[in-house]
């Protein structure tokens, strides 16, 4: 008897479910699909996203993209994936692709790419490669950025340096820095040249410029403690020591200048910076941008190298409307949309054709950033990398504070990092 009842109940539920789904399907066929896009861009970048979304929504009638600005995107995305309510498409830091892809949280896009014949070669190589994890593509590059050397021409002149000849090599950089450093009668810093530990420049950057890398080719060994790493860190430490760590700390913040970079106020003559700063700089330091701003490729160590970061579009696993999401992605990386976004946000399109378009490359301040893409590198697409990098930061910290020699600090960090890498590799193999 109970069995029968249970069966009846089941049948009832199923039929109800069926009715609902068919009803929904019926509705869907008439009304456009609404898909959710999460991103954490505000300000000019936010306007850029809105512009692209609007353009897409206007371009067709089947899909409506609803963009939501989500501060603290990473945490929220994690929660939503764990809770199986992910958005359909996310504009997120490409650097995270490996993290998420290795955990099977992203939809591989190769079928779509093949179907729609998307050409990987149309994108900057560093950008595209950063989306590939174990041979599969997990995100489509949306925008990118590189680093260049920004310098203050007025300070160059004051120090007797030629503003049209920015430093070419690390040695130049050190020499210029010495020339640009000013101290007051008590020996406190009033002005500095280039500070290698500011602006969030990772040691990995200098490592690349020395010709080294964080991992070996198959990502089984950490290699940042090799001679290239030691050389890079020694160089960093010697320049910091020239200023004096204590003095740098004192210079770093003052009540008036906390809101922005001491570069704006002429306390720092050179810095390594990405193009994202341009809009901020135009707003807060228009005179500097108009008259005194010099932009040059980063000085090289043994080779030229810059990091290429930026954002990608991904479809989380379990997204309700991945096909529609793909349609949006396709649109967003089309040349027009890329140019539209770049012009609003002031960043570099990931699509080469858009980046080289005069509408974008015509901006003389942006041009050097685009040129720098030639030497662009990207961080290893490996889930262990963030944790490994945290040890690299600690090594720099120890060396700069004089707690350990650069070599010993790197040795220590490599010891810890190798364990981390092994652990991940072991787990990935399983």
């Amino acid at each position: 008897m109970r069995q029968v009842l249970r069966l009846l109940a089941l049948a009832l539920c199923l039929s109800l479910l069926a009715t609902i789904t068919t009803a929904q399907a019926a509705v869907a066929s008439r009304a456009p699909v609404e898909i959710a896009l999460w991103h954490d861009w505000t300000g000019e970048g936010g306007d850029g996203v809105v512009a692209v979304v609007d353009a897409f929504n206007k371009s067709q009638s089947n899909i409506v993209v609803k963009a939501t600005v989500t501060p603290d995107l990473g945490t929220k995305l994690l929660a939503s994936v764990a809770g199986r309510v992910p958005p359909d498409v996310v504009l997120f830091d490409r650097y995270m692709t490996g993290q998420y892809a290795s955990r099977d949280a992203l939809t591989p896009l190769d079928t779509y790419i093949a179907r729609d014949k998307m050409d990987p070669g149309a994108f900057f190589e560093a950008c595209w490669n950063e989306t590939v994890y174990r041979g599969k593509v997990y995100s489509i590059p949306f925008e990118t950025n590189s680093r260049v050397l920004m310098y203050n021409k007025r300070l160059f002149k004051e120090a007797g340096l030629d503003p049209s000849k920015p430093p070419e090599t690390w040695d130049d950089l050190v020499r210029y820095s010495h020339a640009l450093t000013k101290r007051d009668e008590k020996g406190r810093l009033v002005q500095v040249g280039f500070v290698p530990i500011w602006n969030g420049v990772s040691l990995v950057h200098y490592l690349w410029q020395c010709g080294g890398d964080a991992f070996n080719a198959d990502a089984t060994r950490v290699t940042f403690n090799g001679p290239e790493g030691v050389e890079a860190l020694e160089w960093v430490v010697s320049l910091v020591n020239y200023y004096g760590y204590d003095n740098l700390v004192s210079l770093a913040a003052g009540f008036g200048s906390h809101l922005s970079d001491p570069f704006y106020t002429g306390k720092v003559a050179m810095k390594s910076e990405g193009c994202w700063m341009l809009s901020d700089m135009r707003r807060y330091a228009p005179n500097l941008v108009a008259n005194d701003l010099g932009v040059a490729p980063l000085p090289r160590g043994k080779v030229r190298a810059t990091i290429a970061g930026g954002f990608s579009l991904v479809i989380p696993k379990g997204a309700a409307h991945s096909d529609a999401a793909w349609e949006f992605i396709k649109f967003a990386v089309s040349k027009d949309a890329q140019i539209l976004f770049a012009r609003k946000a002031g960043t570099i399109p990931a699509l080469k054709a858009a980046a080289l378009d005069p509408q974008v490359a015509g901006d003389p301040l942006l041009k050097p950033f685009i040129d720098a893409m030639e030497h662009a590198r990207y961080r290893p697409v490996h889930p262990a990398f963030p944790e490994v990098e945290s040890y690299i930061y600690q090594a720099v910290d120890k060396a700069v504070h004089g707690e350990m020699s650069p070599e010993a600090a790197l040795e220590w960090a490599a010891g810890r990092a190798q364990k981390v890498l092994d652990r991940y590799n072991r787990h990935l193999r399983r």
Partner: protein, 316 residues
Amino acid sequence: MTREIDCTSPGKADSGRRGLSRNAVREARDFYLCILPWLVGFSGLTLGPMLVSFYYSLCEYNILQPPTWVGLANYVSIFTDDPLFWTALYNTAYYTFFSVPLGVAGSLALALLLNQAVRGVRVFRTIFYMPSIMPAVASSILWIWLFNPQYGLVNRALSLVGIKGPLWLADPVWSKPALILMGLWGVGGGTVIFLAGLQGVPRHLYEAAVVDGATTWQQFLHVTLPMLSPTVFFSFVMGIIGSFQVFTQSYVMTQGGPLNSTLFYVLYLYRVAFEFFQMGYASALAWILFVILVTFTGLQLRLSRRWVYYEGDLRR
């Protein structure tokens, strides 16, 4: 002196313990009715997640994929192969050891001050409360400036008395004291609790003390403090629980540096969980912290019987 009947026979005494009288049953029923909302909330929304996180602590879990069982491996590697765990534990204990007593004393002192009948005391109270609602961005910017070795107010004040101030946030030795100092800025929150507590101290006790010739200090010691002891106890328990979970300042201002000197326990845990995606390991860290805090609080509860005075304590 004399007794008519001599004492209890143990058999009798036991019979009384069995079961509760109907009034006691009614009181117990009311107790459970009263705490029902919490009981529902706790068992529904807190206990489950706690147990789940305990399960995670025995797993390798990266949030994005289902957890896989690893037994005690996380705990073992925390204790045997994780120098940062010890660093974070030390930093947190250091911070707690100084910030909690200072914070409690500070809020109490401020409350006494703000309990005076002075003109404009309401405005003063509001001002002193402000730091505890100040958006974190604003207060961290402010404190970075205050601690600036060259231009900061702190070191300028120190130089007035001929002391060359340290680098504060940038110095591994002074970064923790700096954050402790900064924490004291927000004592206004605790002051609110003490202000409320001060209203419960019957005035006649002060009058009695004055009649007995007590000085202001003695009045404080023998009247105010005992009557406030439940509040003091509360502040200590919450202070320890809170400071063991200190996170925001170091997350916003120092990111754990320099040289990991402000790497506090929960900051480390947060990194492990959300930057390295190792929620299993982070959960194990959390449960170790949990055990530490439970032990501490249990100890405090036990000690509290000696010094906390409740006017309305229940006889049992």
